[in-house]
């Protein structure tokens, strides 16, 4: 697969459509699975990892699925290409930069399904969906899981369920996470209250790139932590209920913003567009913060001729690896900031919104 062919596409999770897409960016479910009779990846030899990858590749190639999964050998990719896949949410930072030896990822052409091989667990199946779509994502991943299991023997224990390298994943091996854009709760300083409540009921809150990453641009991932003792459907229902509550809070906060300080919000959004369209140096973090304001402006109808999809495109294309691919050359930090600003200026000019 030529990775550069993915560049013009937004990928499933940034399609910007799907249920509740004014607040919910995307839904992701992943399953951790391991093969019997092999050590877990961290204790497997190079040779064993090769064998695991071989079996996984064969099962993936022959899987009875309505779409094709293309296997990408991550070990031979350049650091830039690996980072590119991380930015597209197709592989983890660990698979890209921390782990070594034979490893890879199989991806469908919509970039909705991905199967990481030799991550922390032998297999990490993932389905990404635009908007709030837990049921659809579960149906998709359940099917991929069955298709692979038809050709592989999973490590399964009568008491503990699907066995994983880390006991925090044992049982159903499922992590369902919903990415939310919560700018109004941030602006009205209610966000911490929401998160404290979430932690009490055992749901985790993370930034854009998962574990340990900061929440840039008011994007948060909410996911389950418990994987043992509750069925998949029970876990999904619990998350669904919580997300629905957060959705309500965010929308209330947005309504309050429009009602009480529309002028100030309009000004903030206009300034964000202004900075994005005229800066000559801009960091990825600042871009995300400004795009967050623009995204909110679109949903509050403070801006009307900019589609949400465009924000998503700017969002993904201004990340480090995407930017370097677009520019066709490696760039260091300073150069990236200049290139990012240049890209944003030309894009916004193209859209005719920078003159507003």
């Amino acid at each position: 697969m030529n990775l550069d062919s993915l560049l013009p596409n937004l990928g499933e999770w940034l399609r910007g459509t799907g249920p509740e897409s004014d607040v919910v960016v995307s839904t992701r479910i992943r399953l951790a699975r391991n093969l019997v009779n092999f050590p877990f990846t961290n204790r497997a030899s190079h040779h064993q990892k090769g064998e695991i990858a071989g079996r996984a590749k064969e099962a993936i190639a022959k899987a009875d699925l309505p779409y094709k999964l293309d296997y990408i050998d991550v070990a031979v990719l350049s650091p830039l290409d690996r980072q590119f896949l991380v930015e597209r949410q197709l592989i983890s930072r660990e698979l890209a930069a921390v782990l070594d030896g034979p490893r890879g990822v199989a991806v469908d052409d919509k970039e909705s399904v991905s199967v990481m091989v030799n991550e922390e667990d032998h297999l990490r199946l993932q389905v990404l969906r635009s908007g709030f779509a837990l049921d659809e994502a579960w149906q998709d991943i359940d099917r991929v899981d069955d298709a692979l299991e038809a050709r592989l023997t999973y490590a399964f224990h009568a008491q503990f369920g699907y066995l994983t390298a880390c006991p925090t994943n044992v049982g159903i091996g499922m992590r369902a996470s919903v990415m939310l854009h919560l700018p109004a709760l941030g602006l009205t300083k209610q966000i911490d209250k929401v998160f404290r409540a979430l932690q009490k009921i055992n749901l985790a809150v993370r930034g854009l790139h998962g574990e340990g990453s900061r929440a840039f641009g008011d994007l948060y991932q909410i996911s389950n932590q418990v994987t043992l003792g509750k069925s998949e459907s029970k876990v999904l229902n619990e998350i669904r209920e919580v997300i629905q509550t957060i959705l309500q809070y965010e929308r209330q906060a947005r309504n309050a913003l429009v009602k009480e300080r529309k002028q100030a919000e309009q000004d903030r959004v206009a300034r964000a567009i202004g900075t994005l369209g005229s800066a000559t140096m801009i960091t990825s973090e600042e871009t995300m913060e400004l795009l967050s304001a623009v995204r909110l402006g679109i949903h509050l109808h403070l801006l009307d001729d900019l589609p949400a999809t465009t924000v998503n495109q700017l969002f993904i294309h201004t990340q480090a690896a995407h930017l370097q691919k677009l520019m066709g050359q490696p760039l260091d930090g300073e150069e990236r900031n200049a290139a990012r600003a240049k890209y944003l200026r030309s894009k916004l000019r193209e859209l005719g919104t920078s003159q507003r």
């Binding site: 390298a165 925090t168 003792g229 459907s233």
Partner: protein, 168 residues
């Protein structure tokens, strides 16, 4: 009361009085079995040698309880202590090898110790076959015993189970 070796509830209680000195042991069934206190086959005899060994060597048992770090997986060679340091298990067999130490940990993480939810198709097929085999044996036994009402009920149950589709 908790087992002196692991965190499971103690169900085997031993009191030994020798020369007016009282010694007590409290264990869960698994640990009692491990130390040969409970015979594998039902029997009225207690292994006295094993019991005495345990009672007179409190130091060794105390170490075991305090230090599961030395537990080693016979399949991958990982020691429990290494797992605690790195947070990652070495192979699927660790879940059995470290069970006594892992169960309390898993319970703290998940507030549960048993899986509910999806089961691999291959395992579901095995369970179904075992279930049917068991029912057929019961049916044969019922026929031999001339319990024809039971036999008829079992036969219907078997037919019904056979008719439901194999798991996907």
């Amino acid at each position: 009361m908790k087992c002196q070796f692991c965190d499971n509830p103690a169900t085997v209680h031993v009191t030994d009085i020798t020369k007016s000195k009282k010694r007590e042991l409290h264990l869960c069934e698994r640990c009692a079995r491990k130390h040969n206190l409970v015979p594998d086959q039902p029997s009225p005899h207690v292994d006295l040698k094993a019991l005495l060994g345990l009672l007179t060597a409190p130091l060794v048992t105390g170490q075991l309880a305090a230090d599961p770090a030395a537990l080693t997986c016979p399949t991958c060679g990982l020691q429990y202590g290494e797992f605690r340091a790195a947070g990652r298990l070495g192979c699927p067999a660790d879940y059995d090898a470290f069970e006594a130490a892992l169960v309390p940990l898993i319970e703290r993480i998940h507030r549960a110790v048993a899986h509910t939810g999806k089961i691999p198709q291959a395992v579901r097929r095995q369970l179904r076959e075992a279930d049917l085999r068991n029912l057929r044996e019961q049916l044969a036994a019922a026929i031999t015993a001339e319990k024809y009402e039971d036999a008829a009920r079992l036969r219907d149950l078997i037919r019904q189970k056979e008719a439901t589709d194999e798991p996907r």
